[in-house]
Structures are given as structure tokens and as C-alpha cells.
Amino acid sequence: MTERTPVTVLTGFLGAGKTTLLNRVLTEQHGQRIAVIENEFGEVGIDHELVINAEEEIFEMNNGCICCTVRGDLIRILGSLMKRRDQFDRILIETTGMADPGPVVQTFFVDEDMKERLFVDAVVTLVDAKHVWQRLDDSDEVKEQIAFADVILLNKCDLVPASELDKLEARIKGMNGMAKVHRTVNAEVPLEAVLEVGGFNLDHAMEVDPKFLEPEYPFEWGGIFEIPAGGASFTATEDPDPSMKLVLIPVEKADAENLADAREKALRIFSHEAVETQPDGILTADGELYELILPGGDIAWKVSVEAGTYAVFTEHYPEELNLELIGNTGVITASIAASYKPDHEHDEEVSSVGIEQAGDCDGEKLNRWISKLLQEKGTDIFRMKGVFSVKGDPNRTIFQGVHMLLDSQDGGPWGERPRKNSLVFIGRDLDREALNASFRKCLA
């Protein structure tokens, strides 16, 4: 394969500073020859021989299907530009402030011949830190430009107090947890930060910020108890919900390591069908997920296990229903406990969802899951990327995608690394809990 030409897509509302950045890129000494495709007649004149004006022409290859929507003007321009391939080293596309980045990016994914000669290095979005607030609420274009971005320049930072910038950056990161955010004045940023990004490079699909992959558990609490001979009983006196799920798992001893191991087992068990268990029912530690029915009043369930050490994971905090474990000699308290309620209280239409799950997926289940997901939610998923660990495959499967277009490759052997699945979705109206729950069903 010949060396592919990198393409940078520059987005941002009118006045955010796209042309200022473009001028810097064109005038600084970086040793690269850049062909510019621009949609807007610049606010600042650009003196450069390879500047081509485009007219935003949305072209649907398949009526109404968003994944088949590309930019007809770009196809034409790129087709003729590539005949002059020896005249430039990279391409920069400046979109209009109102442009949807989706069709621009998809243009580079649908034609294999083009994919072999060009690649999108990054979508760089400029945000006017002073004026973007209102548009974040009412402009779909601004939301999509942020959602698609690999790099976001919070520009005009000199016009906004630091406290406001912190709020703005937090809000933007809630929408797109994948992008690198730089605070700038006059779009001044080291050019490598916008020109050598590798945002769509599958080799970088693994490099998801671990802080972003805060695990989502279907239980809020877990603890380890010593249950004496003769068993014990769970009692509850409050019923804030009609039912609550619970699982009991035998462990070797009460320490953080055993609690963490049991947590992963509990995660799998919580994806199973729950067994409805009325008050006075019997609970065992044989891998069953119990749904305790809470009809109200003082109720109890018998725990029928051998004497030993057990981890318990509950859908809600035990104190919400005054749940207690009672043995022969009174209340048994947890030797060690942990809370698993994540802080994902973002109230944004556009948001990011990260999933991290240790272990292997079942290849067929995974295939069915992602096909169904893209069919039902592809229109709302702007970007996705990650790595899967598929049972029986010694190598990683890495993927990235835009709307319903997926690109995947063999990511090489896992080797000594622990096998796990890491996924990131950025989209509109994403249901974090449902995505996590449905993905867990793919586990082998």
C-alpha cells in the first residue's frame, strides 16, 4: 500500500476561530505542504496556491439512510486533488459553521480505493468559549461538532473567567469524553496537537482514558459476611421499591481482593434471569440471582448455606430497606464493604458512555448485539471505538466507527495482558444502563 495522505477536518461555528487556526497552520514553519478545501469564504484572506472552494453538497447514496450520506462535493474535489498527489503532504478541510461533520467523515469511509489513499487523522472542533453556552442548548450542529471531535480547542479563553471555563470544559467532556480539550487564545496550540492526532487510527482505539471508563455495575452495594453454622436470615422493614435483586457468592476470606473477584462474578450473575423470591423464601449461594419481592412490613428470607465466608451484592443500598443479616447471636455486620453507585448524572442530550468489562465475549452474541444496536441506534451514535476480547481468539479485535459504518482489525495477541473489553460510544440519548446491561449479555 502506498503511503496514505492524512486529512484534518476543521469544524466550529462561524467566529470560533477556524480561519485563525487555518492561517497559523498555513504560515508556521512545519515543513508540510497542505492542500486546503474550504467551504466558507474566509474571514481572513488566505494566500496559498492550493486552496479549493467547496460547495456543501450532501449526497445520499441510499435514500434517507444516514450511514450512506456523504459529501458529493468532496468526492469530486478529492478525486481531482489526488491526481496532483505530489503537490501536497496533507489535506485540511474547513467546514462551514453549520456543517454536520458526519457526511464529511463518512466520505472517507465508504470508498475502499479512497480509504487506501487517504485517512482522516482527526476532527478538530473550535469552540468559542464566550459565546458557545447558548448554542450548546439550542444548536444540533454545535452538539454534533463537539460529539464528532477528536480534538476540541476551547478558544477565546481570555474573554472568560477561569471558573466559567472549568464549567464549560466539564460540560463538553460530559458530551464527548474521548476528545482532547485544549484551552486557547487566538487558536494558539502546538500544531502537533491538531495535525498528528491519529483519532481514527485503529491502533489508538485502545487508548481510552481509564478515568472515562468508570465501570457501571447493576448493583449499588457489596459486602463480605461470616455466616455461622445454622445459617442466617435477611430481614427488611422498608419497601421503597416493589423488589430488589441480590446475589450470594462464596469467597475464601474477607478482603478487598476477594470482594473484587466476587464483584466480577456478581456482574455476570446479574445479567441472568432473576428468580422471584417471596418473603420466607430460601436463598442459597449457588450462582442464582434472586429478586426479593418486597410487599411491605417486616419480612425475612432464610439464607441456607454452610458456615463460611460469603459476599453479598445488592441492587440498592441495604439501608434503603433496612436490610440486615441476622445470625443465631444477632446482627452480622459486613467485614468489608464497597459502594458501586457511579457518578454519571450528566443531563445532556449528547453524551459519552464508556464500558469496561473483564473477560471474554461470545463472538456470535457480540455480532448480534452490535448489529442490533447499530440498526436501532446507529443514527444517534456519532462515534464509537474500542477493543473486544472474543472467546477462543488469542488476538484483540479493535474497532472504531461513525454512525453505522464500522471499521475493525485484528489488534495482535493479548499476550500477558489481562483480557478485557473496553468500548466508548458518543451519541444522542444514549441509555448508559441499557447499553451496559445488553453488553453484559454478550459475555461468554
Partner: protein, 89 residues
């Protein structure tokens, strides 16, 4: 259909389809775009290859096969309009 499957030689197959398409309509001086769509929308076929001459307006034909299974005859037939080009098979 395994959506993670990687089909080798697609770029080469794409170039062949582009060449045949250009030869089919030599009177049209336009960039040809060839896209194999694996659409996940309800009712769409698993595979369809969309060949577009980016003239004004664009001229589109569809071949309901993966790119690497398309033959010269498929392109000629699609261009001659003897098979439906805008409906599913």
C-alpha cells in the same frame, strides 16, 4: 454476517469496478465513487455496492453484491439499465 470480518483485496476490487464503470460510460467525464454498504437498517440487503458517477446530477447504479464478487458483466448489466438499479433485489 460477521460485521467484524475484514475482507481482503477490497481496494483492488474497488479500482476494478471503477475502471469498468468508467469504460461503460466513456462519454461521462466524472469521478466514480464505489461504496460497498453493509447497512444495518431494517429492510436493507446485507450487502449492496453503490456505483456513483459524480456528474451533475450524480448517476447512480446499485449492485446487490459485495464489491469483491462483482464482475464486469454485473457492471455492464447495471449500466445498461436492464436490471433495477434503485430497488432492492
Amino acid at each position: 454476517m460477521n460485521i467484524f470480518s475484514v475482507i481482503d483485496g477490497k481496494a483492488q476490487a474497488t479500482r476494478a469496478v471503477k475502471r469498468w464503470a468508467a469504460e461503460c460510460r466513456p462519454e461521462v467525464d466524472a469521478i466514480v465513487n464505489v461504496a460497498e454498504l453493509r447497512c444495518h437498517e431494517e429492510g436493507c440487503p446485507d450487502f449492496e455496492t453503490v456505483v456513483t458517477w459524480m456528474s451533475s446530477p450524480p448517476f447512480v447504479v446499485k449492485i446487490f453484491k459485495p464489491i469483491n464478487q462483482i464482475t464486469r458483466v454485473d457492471v455492464d448489466t447495471a449500466c445498461s439499465g436492464t436490471t433495477p438499479t434503485t430497488n432492492e433485489p
